[in-house]
């Protein structure tokens, strides 16, 4: 048993800690606060404490637990809200009231609750790690698959059925090391990635229902994305939109060092929203980690691992999991804060030298995999990280190290946010490295050449940016008409396609078929407009076409309404341009246009 010799903020130094291990979980002080060993020199241990340390004194004891910081994995995760060390916040509230007190314990998974276990294997079956022993209907959406834990294989001697608690033995296996009891609940150290058979190339899009992502800068299932931006540019709203509408089976949402009211927002609004695929409450597929900015920083540091371990566990069942981490910068700052207390040699901007490797390790836990188990199961963890760069300037270490790793970059732009262009994702600086991966999906699903359309749209917006530079020097009047037609169409693309108001009851989600339909119409308008302008139609005339109004109204149509309207709009568009050209040839139209 060790003895505290120093306390400085969330860091405690203890002596007489011989026999302890790095990353071992310890109980600190008379109140037995939870801590983790993050440094060992001789028999002196450096401990990060997951709870407030005020009032703790040197001389108080420190006890080892012999275990690393771990999470409980089993039925009960869905719909739960945990702090960074997986303390269940609703249970904690029942125990100690509305304010979080320290030194309170509660198991992450409810111990008394009984689940209906339906076996999948029979007595006598040979099973290996990852095999599904049986299932539990955890929520209306989620079938929780109880798996043989990693590293275990053998013959099923006994298998249960019916009502069980998480700690109950649901199967007994005959293994090479003797009999082994398998319980519903697994325990897994958070800092160790869960094993799988093989990592695969992500080739399916994670559809988010957000046009700028799905159509322009798609993320693949099992991929990684970062969304950096200054305060108030829309990171949280965007991640929450993805959490709501993505076609994932499971959502793990990590609030790391952010606002209490945002977590409350999720808790209040998710249950009311319906998953577009199943029609059930969105909360029925979501697990939350909430370690807000005013909760202990060490737990913030741990929360990211807690979250990704839960995500991997569901992936292992064969699910597509999407994980949001808001914000990875606050997580990095937690590392900085703790490292600063250790008086470690700092790296750039005071961040610890291991910042880059920690970020890389975290994103590396994303991926589409062939899971353990003898049946062919595929699962994925898609990781989306918010980055909060100081002053919105991406030249800082967290942004830079993140951008070296992730494959999708959604660049938020303060200027766009100020003018309420939401999502404020800059279409010129953002990128996705999954374009080729997901191209095939679009082809087979919509029978459209999504990639060409998208490339053409981006080229048009690029052209707009160049023209804007000229306008800034000489004014809009000086541009030739065809170029003004580009500006007009690009504006349409921005306002009627890229802008997507999260709070609009219909436009909050846009199905992929509708996205491509909208894109086609706008690009059709663009081609026609430029062509018409080349043939001498003034842009002022094009601007007055009634079809523009229908295009502006596309967002407000449900997918079904849009599908019905689509042909009509296409026709309307063609006819109206034809009309302009015909009028141009007829002399009567000349006067009208010359104004």
């Amino acid at each position: 048993m060790g003895r505290i010799v120093r306390i400085t903020g969330p860091v405690v130094i203890a002596d007489d800690m011989r026999g302890s291990e790095m990353y071992e979980l310890v109980r600190v002080g008379d109140e037995q606060l939870m801590g983790e060993i993050i440094g060992l020199t001789g028999d002196r241990a450096t401990i990060q404490v997951y709870e407030e340390t005020t009032g703790i004194k040197p001389g108080e004891k420190v006890e080892g637990t012999g275990r690393p910081l771990s999470v409980e994995l089993g039925p009960g995760l869905i719909g739960a809200i945990y702090d960074g060390t997986q303390r269940p916040l609703t249970v904690i509230r029942e125990k100690v009231g509305d304010m979080i007190r320290r030194g309170v314990f509660a198991p992450a998974l409810p111990r008394e609750k009984k689940w209906d276990f339906v076996p999948r294997v029979k007595k006598g079956a040979e099973v290996v790690e990852g095999d599904v022993l049986g299932t539990v209907k955890e929520s209306k959406i989620v079938e929780h698959r109880i798996m043989v834990p990693p590293g275990v294989r053998g013959k099923v001697l006994e298998i249960s059925e019916g009502q069980h608690k998480v700690e109950d033995v649901i199967a007994v296996l005959e293994t090479s090391e003797g009999k082994k009891n398998v319980r519903m609940m697994q325990i897994w150290p958070v800092r160790r990635a869960r094993p799988f058979k093989e990592k695969l190339e992500p080739n399916l899009p994670l559809l988010t229902g957000q046009r700028v992502a799905d159509t322009f800068f798609p993320i693949a299932k099992g991929g990684t994305a970062a969304i950096p931006g200054g305060f108030g540019t829309g990171k949280t709203v965007f991640l929450q939109q993805v959490a709501k509408w993505a076609d994932a089976d499971i959502i793990t949402y990590i609030g790391a060092g952010e606002r209490g009211n945002e977590m409350c927002d999720v808790l209040v609004h998710f249950p009311e929203l319906k998953d577009p695929r199943t029609g059930e409450s969105l909360m029925d597929r979501t697990a939350l980690i909430a370690n807000t900015s005013n909760m202990p920083v060490a737990a913030r540091e741990a929360g990211v691992y807690t979250g990704i371990t839960i995500a991997e566990y569901f992936r292992d069942m064969g699910y597509d999991v999407a994980l949001m981490a808001d914000s990875t910068s606050r997580w990095a700052e937690a590392m900085r804060e703790i490292s600063g207390r250790l008086e470690e040699m700092p790296g750039e901007e005071g961040f610890p030298a291991y910042l880059a490797s920690r970020l890389a390790e975290f994103y590396e836990r994303a991926g589409r995999v062939r899971t353990l188990g003898s049946d062919e199961r595929f699962g994925s963890v898609t990781v989306l990280g918010a980055v909060s760069p100081p002053g919105g300037d991406l030249s800082e270490p967290v942004s830079q190290n993140t951008l070296r790793i992730v494959k999708v970059f959604w660049a938020l732009d303060t200027g766009l946010a100020y003018r309420r262009h939401f999502p404020a994702i800059n279409w010129l600086t953002s990128y996705s490295m999954y374009i080729n991966n997901v191209q095939e999906w679009w082809k087979s699903k919509t029978n459209e050449d999504w990639k060409s359309l998208r490339d053409e749209a981006i080229a048009m917006l690029q052209k707009e940016a160049e023209l804007e530079e000229i306008v800034k020097l000489v004014g809009p009047d000086a541009l030739p008409e065809p170029e003004r037609a580009v500006l007009e169409s690009a504006r349409m693309m921005r306002e009627d396609f890229l802008q997507q108001f999260a709070l609009h009851e219909v436009d909050t989600y846009c199905a992929p078929e509708k996205q491509i339909g909208m894109l086609k119409i706008i690009m059709e308008f663009y081609r026609n407009a430029v062509e018409a302008a080349k043939r001498g139609i003034p842009v002022e005339e094009i601007r007055k076409l009634p079809v523009k109004e229908s295009i502006a109204g596309m967002k407000r149509l449900t997918a079904e309404e849009f599908a019905k309207q689509y042909r009509k709009m296409e026709k309307q568009l063609r006819e109206q341009f034809d009309y302009l050209l015909r009028m141009k040839r007829a002399p009567a139209a000349e006067d009208k246009c010359s104004g």
């Binding site: 340390t53 979080i100 000489v474």
Partner: protein, 458 residues
């Protein structure tokens, strides 16, 4: 914990001192320090070793020596009395009454650091507070339990604005218990007097508690002052069921004190010399706003900060913006034009307005009007800077209408009297009035059904 006394000050530097030969000192413990001239100061343990403690001294270390200074460890963490008697009273930045009245009788003593509200215990804020100021109510709506700071600059009228909000703020159709907790950090006598006189004139002083750390008071004390104020606010809100508006001014001075301590400890600095933990420290203040399920009261925070060199990317506004639920940004250019309040709505934001406006809260068209005003004003300002280069002749008709809109918007919508209290309907109607000057096809942010109803009402 028992109290113990030592004469073993080993070192004094900046706002810190080190006491040696101690034992059983708790992290965060309070100490009383008696200097050789008999002056009593107060401090708190920042780093606790077995036989040594690093202490931050709230009143500054002047007069402390290494021979005769007595240090008494009080055996407890920093606490402050709570009770209804604090209403109508003025305290120093350390919590001593300075209004000449007796020491209030407290009902209890609370740890000034508070405890984090369990996120699952929070009630999502959704009650509209009408401030009577169009640019706030219409476009950056404040709700009960929100933390909405004012980003200002030296010489801008943030004090007038805050005083006006404190005077006019109300929740429509309700007579509920409210209170104001005012926390001045490093402000001048004049500023303090301006607020106190204002509270006295409006009668609000009866329902106000004032904490004052003035510019010539010890800087380190400012670390404590907002925590006293928030402890008081939490008591009034969550124990007494009051709706409490907390004004914290000026957070820039608070952050300077934080930097001073960090520098004295030779900590590795973060950006521009501010400590790496400033985000977490500020969060421990700002996150003490909110509502709690099943409890009546609320804590609404309105922090004020002056942006050094009007720079919004400076760490103080930057980290604040990353924690608070929006910000109201004052702009020198608008101020020079004589617009009051000189709030530029574009960089301003209220993240919580979404649940506090619309049907049943304000009016059904509120969100759309607000969005359209934003978009139009942004466009107007872009065109204004374009005109500066290419001249007005080069503009199209559409551009001209935006240019005119932006001017009117500033003069008629943003600008208002220092005593003018506009009801929300007036604000929204005014918004429509301005939008009417734009071509209807430009109003894409508004649902067509509202165009019919509000833009061209019969």
């Amino acid at each position: 914990m028992k109290s113990r006394e030592y004469l073993t000050v080993a070192e004094v530097y900046g706002p810190l001192m080190i006491v040696e030969g101690v034992s059983g000192v708790a992290y965060g413990e309070v100490v009383d320090i008696t200097t050789p001239d008999g002056e009593v100061k107060h401090g708190q343990v920042l780093d606790a070793y077995e036989d040594r403690a690093v202490i931050q001294v709230y009143e500054g270390t002047r007069g402390i020596d290494t021979f005769k200074t007595k240090v008494r460890f009080r055996g407890e963490t920093v606490k402050f009395g709570v009770g209804l008697e604090v209403l109508g009273r003025i305290f120093s930045g350390r919590g001593e009454p300075i209004d000449g009245g007796p020491k209030p009788i407290f009902e209890d003593e609370w740890d000034v650091h508070g405890a984090p509200i369990n996120p699952s215990a929070r009630e999502y804020p959704s009650e509209f507070i009408q401030t009577g100021i169009s640019v706030i109510d219409g476009m950056n709506t404040l709700v009960r339990g929100q933390k909405l700071p004012i980003f200002s600059g030296a010489g801008l009228p943030h004090n007038e604005l805050v005083a006006q909000i404190a005077r006019q703020a109300k929740v429509l159709g309700e007579e509920e218990k409210f209170a104001v907790v005012f926390c001045g950090m490093g402000i001048t006598h004049e500023e303090a007097a301006f607020f106190i006189n204002g509270f006295e004139k409006s009668g609000a002083i009866e329902r106000a508690t004032v904490f004052l750390n003035l510019a010539n008071d010890p800087a380190i004390e400012r670390i404590l002052t907002p925590r006293l104020a928030l402890t008081t606010a939490e008591y009034l809100a969550f124990t007494q069921g009051m709706h409490v508006l907390v004004i914290l001014t000026d957070m820039t001075n608070y952050c300077e004190a934080l930097r001073e301590i960090s520098a004295a400890r030779s900590e590795v600095p973060g950006r521009r010399g501010y400590p790496g933990y400033m985000y977490t420290d500020l969060a421990s203040i700002y996150e003490r706003a909110g509502r709690i399920k099943g409890r009546k009261g609320s804590v609404t925070q309105m922090p004020v900060l002056t942006m050094p060199a009007d720079d919004i990317t400076h760490p103080i506004p930057d980290l604040t913006g990353y924690i608070t639920e929006g910000q109201l940004v004052m702009e020198r250019e608008l101020h020079r034009k004589g617009i009051y309040p000189p709030i530029n709505p574009l960089p301003s934001l209220s993240r919580l307005m979404k649940d506090g406006i619309g049907e049943g809260h304000t009016r059904e068209d509120h969100m759309d009007v607000s969005n359209q005003l934003y978009a139009a004003y942004a466009e107007g300002r872009d065109i204004r800077s374009l005109v500066a280069v290419v001249g007005e002749e080069a503009l199209t008709e559409r551009d001209r209408s935006y240019l005119a809109f932006a001017d009117r918007f500033e003069r008629e919508f943003v600008n208002q009297g220092r005593d003018e209290d506009r009801p929300i309907e007036t604000t929204l109607d005014l918004g429509w009035e301005l939008l009417r000057s734009l071509p209807e096809s430009e109003l894409k942010r508004v649902d067509p059904k509202f165009i019919a109803k509000y833009l061209r009402p019969k």
